[in-house]
Amino acid sequence: MSEPIIRFEGVEKSFGSQRVLAGVDFAIPAGRTTVIAGASGQGKSVTLKLILGLLKPDQGRIMVRGRDIARMNPRQLNEARMAFGVLFQGAALLDSLSVFDNVALPLEERTKLSQAEVREKVMTTLEQLGLAGHEDKFPAQLSGGMKKRVGLARALQLQPEIMLFDEPTTGLDPEKSMEIYQLFLETQQKFGYTSVIVSHDIPKIFNLADQVIIMGKGKATTFASPEDIQRSSDPETRDFVRITMGDIYLSREMEKRP
């Protein structure tokens, strides 16, 4: 496996008396897809916010491209964040801006491209993601799936090395979810980014994963493949598998019946 681009080393984080992460260690390899799964409230979103430097850990180090993101000054943090693209759960589009302005925002704020260059780049991305003709609409006029695509278009503008997806298919029907997964595969092949996906959409999401991290009771366990999870002897992981993936086995059993 290639060199890790993100590494958690003994990370602890509490909110008041609630201990969300109690010594978390994992490594995310560059250029691959890592899925972070786990029941609700086990610190998946907190982990994403820690990677982005939006939260600071109480203990431990969070190495992103070899540097501890929790110990950066605001300027360094801004630079480090240029390497990230984020697709938020609700897409987090600026609702007072049109689709075009949303996608153009990172280019206008962070690059010195001319208006014409920005326009060309934005229109190309919108076309690639099947959003041509929607550039003058506002986020409130878009469907859930389209919002996610606009969010993805915006996140890809600065050609990020690492893409973080927070529950990318929540609130979408199965057909739209598949469409989003297809987009991930296509854009990842095209841009070659490292992909970190936090998702509830188990077991479907595992088809995309090169590695799976399961969070529970403040700890994280890394598995090289979905099969490894099923073979795990750890009782908590087995519980998680039974609850979330039990259905597949049930349906396979059913298939065998005459």
Binding site: K49, F88, L158
Partner: protein, 262 residues
């Protein structure tokens, strides 16, 4: 007993944390003024929303405040046979007190609440996080333009309030009642001095700062304010809190500034 002391301590720590957060928020918003490139377009847009769009409200508030002052002043002054002093009474009340205070209160209600709700919703729907993740400073992009626009708008609106109010007093005292028009303006000219005007302008700058600081700050911290709740309810409670806090702050600082500067 011990539990009560614990609660008191917890509450004190929360208040100190909140003050610290708001203090740092103010510093970051002001630091944004010096950062390049300057977002002139955003400042102009916000000045239109906060300032120009408040003109009608300010005009009517000022006109009727001036007319009431003219009416009340006339009947009070007539008891002492000094209706001629109506002009200076109206002008001094407006320039020193009512102009800055009422303008700031009206802007709080009209634009301050809108700013707070806008930023609160952006916080709840992760739009502020999204800006930070794109390495776009939410202060420079969003908060600082609102600060500049409010600090530009409120003093100008205050001056408009004063002028409209003085003519409102003229309509009530001179046109509708029987004060001599010459006496109305000459009395004003003789009694209003630079110090009064400066006091009014200083007040309007301080009030502008309070309004924009409290309203944007409460919205920005909607997710950590204790007892605010979540989602739409959180935003509505925080907006109410912002308007109430701003209004009280304006009145308290009005007293303090008058006591110090007069």
């Amino acid at each position: 007993m011990l539990a009560r002391i614990e609660r008191l301590g917890e509450h004190t720590i929360y208040i100190l944390q909140d003050l610290g957060r708001m203090g740092l928020f103010l510093l970051r918003a002001l630091a944004g003024i010096g950062k390049r490139p300057f977002r002139l377009g955003a400042v102009i847009r916000q000045t239109r929303l906060i300032g120009a769009d408040s003109f009608v409200v300010i005009f009517f508030t000022a006109a009727f405040t001036g007319m009431v002052l003219g009416l009340q002043g006339y009947y009070t002054l007539r008891k002492f046979g000094s209706e001629g002093a109506l002009g200076s009474a109206v002008a001094l009340s407006l320039i020193r007190e009512l102009g800055p205070v009422l303008t700031a209160l009206m802007v709080t209600g009209r634009a301050g609440s809108a700013m707070c709700a806008e930023i609160g919703i952006m916080r709840n729907s992760e739009q502020l996080d999204a800006l930070e993740c794109m390495a776009v400073d939410p202060f420079r992009y969003l908060i600082t333009p609102k600060f500049l626009a409010t600090i530009i708008s409120i003093p100008i609106l205050t001056l408009i309030f004063n002028v409209v109010g003085i003519f409102g007093g003229y309509v009530a005292g001179v046109t509708l009642l029987d004060v001599n028009p010459g006496a109305y303006f000459s009395g004003m000219e003789a009694s209003v001095i630079n110090k009064d005007i400066n006091l009014g302008i200083i007040k309007s700058f301080v009030f502008a700062m309070l309004v924009v600081w409290i309203c944007t700050g409460r919205g920005y911290f909607v997710h950590v304010i204790r007892g605010a709740g979540f989602g739409a309810e959180g935003v509505s409670r925080v907006t109410t809190q912002a308007v109430v806090l701003s209004s009280i702050a304006i009145l308290v600082w009005d007293y303090l500034l008058t006591a110090i500067l007069l």
